[in-house]
Symmetry: C2
């Protein structure tokens, strides 16, 4: 049920008559042309500062003035329809709340891409995941797509996007996808790094806090695998510890801590680490004496707790760098997809381990 603007002219007039715009409608370049007494072509030339044609200065002024008076704003969709290509980079929004680090990274990326004259759009495709979502994204005909790993975009989805004109499809996440450039954030490395630290401190019964948000599962599993690998090398035990981000859940976990016999914990993030640490301390379990705790993200707040929180810092790829990859790929779409590992990992040892 679409609503078409009121245009009551039902007479069988020849269609080529330039219609008089009713006053309420949004002004088009034709309106500007009429007002300035020139053709639409001239309007386009002037407003786009076309260099290939010379337009006299008085005409330019008249056009610009008419545009200003009418409050003319060009229609981006019409423009890119005509051009056959937009400069829109689509970044699917994460389907669930994610960390502050993520938001900062994407904010920076937006900024860097804007500098390269791309229009960055975050598009929330509620509910849909993976290849279904790709169809919705493809309708927008983005010139590039930067998809966080969370979306579980598969090879089919990548193909859909490319067929619909996307010149660059870049995934950022733990696993590469056939056909797309991949910025590999190797979360296994995060787990490995934390685990090796705990093992070096003599811990042999490791717990791994697994957040319950499904959106984080892909990262959590990758990190867990890293821990497992490191632990296997020295024959240490690994226990999964599912934990909702709530005080009561943490208290429950802490309640039967002694039975578990865990002496070193790798939490999914600093926030989970702090949550658990507080619950442990409330139960009289000493950190790090009884149980060492390691988080991820190097949040400011981790430094404020006592004991100060040991953490794994992830050095994300610079937004600038990623923006340049997007731009390069858009300009030379022929190059075969690369897989680059872009996650530097550093352990920041503090007092909790």
């Amino acid at each position: 049920m679409r609503h078409i603007p009121e245009e009551p002219e039902a007479q069988g007039a020849p269609p080529r008559v330039p219609r008089q715009r009713s006053t309420g409608a949004v002004p088009t370049s034709a309106d500007v042309a009429r007002r300035a007494g020139v053709s639409r072509a001239t309007v386009s030339y002037v407003l786009n500062n076309a260099t290939a044609v010379r337009i006299s200065e008085p005409t330019r002024r008249r056009v610009r003035e008419a545009a200003r008076e009418l409050g003319y704003v060009p229609h981006a969709a019409a423009r890119s329809l005509r051009a056959g290509q937009s400069r829109m980079v689509l970044m699917p929004a994460p389907g669930a709340p994610v960390g502050a680090l993520y938001h900062r990274f994407f904010h920076d990326l937006q900024w860097a891409l804007s500098r390269l004259d791309y229009t960055v759009v975050q598009y929330g495709s509620a509910g849909l995941t993976g290849d279904e979502a790709a169809l919705a994204w493809a309708e927008l005909r983005p010139v590039a797509v930067v998809a966080p790993g969370i979306h579980e975009l598969g090879p089919a989805g990548v193909a859909v996007l490319k067929r619909s004109g996307a010149r660059a499809v870049i995934t950022v996440g733990p696993c590469p996808v056939e056909g797309a450039h991949a910025l590999l954030t190797d979360h296994g490395e995060v787990g490995r790094c934390a685990a090796e630290h705990l093992l070096a401190r003599g811990r042999r019964r490791l717990g791994v806090v697994m957040p319950e948000q499904p959106a984080l599962a892909v990262y959590a599993r990758a990190r867990l695998a890293g821990v497992r690998a490191a632990a296997a090398r020295v024959g240490a035990e690994v226990t999964e510890l599912p934990l909702a981000y709530e005080e009561t859940a943490a208290a429950r976990l802490a309640a039967d801590w002694p039975e578990r016999g865990v002496d070193g914990v790798f939490a999914y993030s600093d926030e989970y680490a702090m949550l658990l640490m507080a619950a442990l301390q409330d139960r009289g379990i000493r950190v790090p004496a009884d149980t060492a705790v390691v988080g991820v993200d190097d949040l400011m707040l981790g430094r404020l707790l006592r004991p100060r929180l040991t953490t794994v810092r992830m050095d994300l790829p610079s937004a600038q760098e990623l923006a340049e990859l997007v731009d390069r790929t858009v300009r030379h779409p022929g190059t075969s997809p690369t897989v680059r590992d872009l996650l530097g990992v550093t352990l920041v040892a503090r007092e909790s381990s």
Copy 2:
């Protein structure tokens, strides 16, 4: 410098010849029509499940199959150009990093709007603010705009958006804007609430932590004004305390704390409160004995510190509610802009005050 796809046919052939698509190009509804042996109109009817016309079942099947085989994806821009209206709700992205609460709220809003069949797009307009940005937004011809107060959208910007076809412009922030619906988040109330709590606890020399991010200034100032108002009523003193979100800055602030003689602090957020509290404790200043501390946001982490952080909880409008306002306004654009106060404020007293 636009790049037009390779179409080398330079012959002066009559233009009405339906061009054969080269294989690499992205398939259009015309391609589907050709393949199914029907007209473009029929394709449109079938793929949009048009009820006004009856299409035979075999034809439907043929069309759908052809679309699937070609990997046809409709072109959203072309569609809304034709329709004269899109269902895109534009949410300008904040120009600077903001809190987790904000992200959660916008995530929920996205979801609620998607349920109402709107396409939600977060658009990063790097650098531009206020009415400049409005021009960029207007090019996208959104049917509605939900703008956080941070963007300092003025009456002129609202007018531009409306003239370009936006049927609903809704600002969310501390001050209403002429011509737009306003969801007033009265941050003065936040400051007032915190200040009255501190005053009731007998504090008479209040400090107000002001974050240095310019993007937060509009909120910080509103909250400060609330504190001032409450303090004036009982003749208490108010000092502004600029603070960057860094440990060293907090340490500097704590260093000359005794000279300041501040006995109660209202921090901009829980995060700033925790930062300051840690610095104060490091200097041997007792909280709350020497100085009481109140934050904002009721973050989980504030409950984990000792002393537990007193905080002001903001009850944001439910995303559902806001989404319905958007929808209602889009459908009845005539209604005059409303100003609604949607920020409930509750003080959560804990141990730090």
